[in-house]
Amino acid sequence: GIDIRLPIGLVFSLVGILLTAFGVASNSAIYQRSLGINVNLYWGLVLLAFGILMVVLGRRGMRPSGSSK
């Protein structure tokens, strides 16, 4: 079957890219409520890194020699 880490990694990578891009492009005024921290940019990068890690692990699990299903 599929290794669950692959779809999880894809979802988190996409969300990470979206948040990071939005964090770069957005007006700093919207971050007043998050204590002035561009939480979209920083958390987006964390989620992107996590997503890439899960994709790598998931692809390794899907190889014939490697699966969670």
């Binding site: 409520r33 998050s34 204590l35 921290i37 979209n40 299903k69």
Partner: protein, 599 residues
């Protein structure tokens, strides 16, 4: 709530993912075992996260934050006393019987160990309970979407009355859960529960981080709140001196033993996840793996409640469940917690002692609105929706299995082909969801009836662990003993509730409905814990007495079902850190450290 396109994209991405996982897994569902038990093919870490996530429904995320705001860090007892010890016990001592007996469900184990009538009693009560739980989760999600005004701009733009938001929320969540379970069965539910687990963590970590940074860390939070709110064991020697209103014996015996072991060790909703594991060792490690993140969940779901109550009151970004003015809401708020507002007068509601009734359920929603800008707000909202949907899906998959194996196959159509039961499993998923929708609507119209049903479920669940404990560890226990023990335990719970009352409460659904009030408890939580203790003790004693008066099973029929007659699982081939016993020791050490540090 000002959602923008990026928030909607994140939410739609989540919905597309859960449906996509179901669609991909459809081709692997070829038998009823694939559909109901994921082919018993999943590794321990997946089952472990699903074991945890299936329990992460609305009551958990919204309810625990609400309790955090109301009672403080003492709410962590529901995890550190009320979950972890039971998870260790089921992993080490009970999974060998559930998994080793090849029972397909918890009620089926009761049939193998005891008899048909004990299985029937458990299966029917469990099936009804899961449908209502799923419906209540659905209702809570639809109410939250209404309160947060998530869909208001869309409805306004389409010139549709806002009263339709509740109906759309119910139907949309029902269809999404229905489709992904229908396609991929339990595997789809479990895979999505793992995704939902990571989303919940990803959505709540930045919320807690921002909140703690705002109040000056744990030290700053401790200075802003009463001492009992940041020390979980402070004042536990007496019910009068702690926020929960419970004494230590009621807490340890009622919550820590009867209620928590009754849930984590016997509820098929969570045990089903461990039964899907690919080996006996994986099944035993499932609840132990789940215990690690579970220990730290108070920091994700209870801490936001404490932060919400510690912040200065502000009218900005506050959601309220009723139509009070912003000024009224701000004037009477405690931190980010607004009072409940009387819809007729627009004034805050007061209890019988004249104190404000606070809307603690809004702790998490208001924290999201207070700290999250657009973008990450979509992620936070997705985390909330994921928690509601994992709770719903967990109940529906448990329902379709118990209905098909323990009711339909046992009493309606035995001796049919495997394809027929696979078909019935899918039909059961459809009518399980349909009944959940009806239950959600019943909750809107008959709130008191739903409260009454919850109470009856509590009476039925309270004695359950006594039956399993005797069944697994005493070979002399008989079917008659188990059946009548369960019945008398349930009656004892009802009688105890009917003869007692929490202080300051009127006679009725809170107790005292049998006439003379023999005891007044300091809180309704204390009454609940002692009701459970009475029910468990009655069931335990009656089961022993009737078992000694009736004919036991032959010992040869109890192999694999009773501790003393079953070969112990060998762990010699495993490395020390992979052995369930070693995992349990690590969990206990961490648990002690958490209790010492936050005690």
């Amino acid at each position: 709530m000002g959602l923008t396109s990026i928030d909607w994209i994140i939410m739609l991405l989540y919905f597309a993912s859960v449906l996509g996982i179901g669609a991909v897994l459809k081709r692997y569902v070829k038998s009823s075992t694939d559909f109901f038990l994921a082919g018993r093919s999943l590794p321990a870490w997946i089952c472990g996260l699903a074991f945890l996530s299936a329990n992460l429904g609305a009551q958990e995320v919204i309810g625990m934050a609400a309790s955090g705001a109301k009672y403080g860090i003492a709410t962590s007892h529901f995890y550190w006393i009320g979950a972890i010890p039971a998870m260790i016990f089921v992993g080490l001592f009970m999974m060998p019987f559930y998994y080793g007996s090849r029972a397909r469900s918890v009620p089926e184990y009761l049939r193998l160990r005891f008899d048909e009538k004990t299985r029937g009693l458990n299966a029917i009560s469990f099936a009804i309970m899961t449908v209502f739980s799923s419906g209540i989760s659905m209702y809570a999600m639809a109410r939250l979407i209404q309160v947060l005004h998530v869909l208001d701009p869309i409805f306004d733009r389409l010139h549709i009355a806002r009263s339709g938001i509740f109906h759309v929320s119910i139907i949309a969540s029902a269809i999404i859960v229905l489709v992904y379970i229908l396609l991929g069965g339990l595997t789809s539910a479990i895979y999505n529960e793992v995704l939902q687990f990571f989303l919940i963590v990803a959505g709540f970590i930045p919320l807690v981080w921002l909140g703690l940074k705002n109040v000056g860390g744990w030290h700053g939070l401790s200075e802003k709140l009463p001492a009992a709110f940041t020390h979980s064991w402070m004042g536990m020697s007496s019910a009068q001196t702690n926020p929960l209103g419970v004494d230590w014996f009621g807490l340890v015996a009622g919550l820590g033993f009867v209620l928590s072991f009754g849930y984590w060790c016997t509820d098929f909703l969570v045990v089903q996840r461990a039964m899907a594991a690919d080996s006996m060792t994986a099944a035993r490690r499932t609840p132990l793996i789940a215990a690690f993140p579970k220990m730290f969940f108070p920091f994700l779901v209870i801490l936001p409640g404490l932060i919400a109550i510690a912040l200065p009151s502000t009218a900005a970004h506050l959601a309220t469940t009723n139509t009070g003015s912003a000024a009224t809401t701000a004037q009477y708020s405690e931190g980010l917690i607004p009072p409940k507002i009387d819809p007729n007068t627009g004034r805050p509601l007061l209890d019988r002692q004249g104190k404000l009734i606070m809307d603690y359920d809004l702790a998490i929603p208001n924290m999201l609105l207070h700290y999250f800008p657009t973008g990450i707000l979509g992620l936070g909202l997705t985390a909330l929706l994921a928690s509601f949907m994992s709770g719903m899906a967990g109940n529906v998959t448990a329902f379709n299995t118990v209905w098909t194996y323990d009711i339909y196959q046992s009493y309606i159509r035995p001796h049919e082909s495997d394809e027929h039961y696979l078909w019935m499993g899918r039909v059961a998923t459809v009518f399980g969801i349909a009944l959940s929708v009806l239950a959600a609507y019943a909750a809107t119209r008959f709130n008191n009836i739903m409260d009454m049903l919850q109470l009856v479920f509590a009476f039925v669940n309270a004695p359950l662990f006594a039956t399993f404990l005797l069944g697994m560890f005493w070979k002399r226990a008989t079917g008659h003993g188990a059946f009548f023990g369960l019945l008398t335990g349930t009656v004892a719970a009802a009688v105890h509730h009917g003869l007692t009352l929490p202080i300051g409460e009127p006679v009725g659904i809170k107790g005292g409905w049998l006439g003379p009030i023999l005891h007044v408890y300091p809180s309704d939580m204390a009454q609940n814990f002692y009701t459970a203790i009475w029910a468990w003790t009655t069931c335990f004693v009656v089961t022993i007495v009737i078992s000694l008066l009736t004919q036991p099973h032959e010992e040869s029929k109890l192999v694999g079902l009773v501790y003393s007659l079953t070969e112990k699982p060998s762990e010699k081939h495993l490395r020390w850190y992979a052995r369930p016993a070693a995992l349990a020791v690590v969990i206990i050490v961490v648990l002690l450290l958490l209790n010492i540090f936050f005690g």
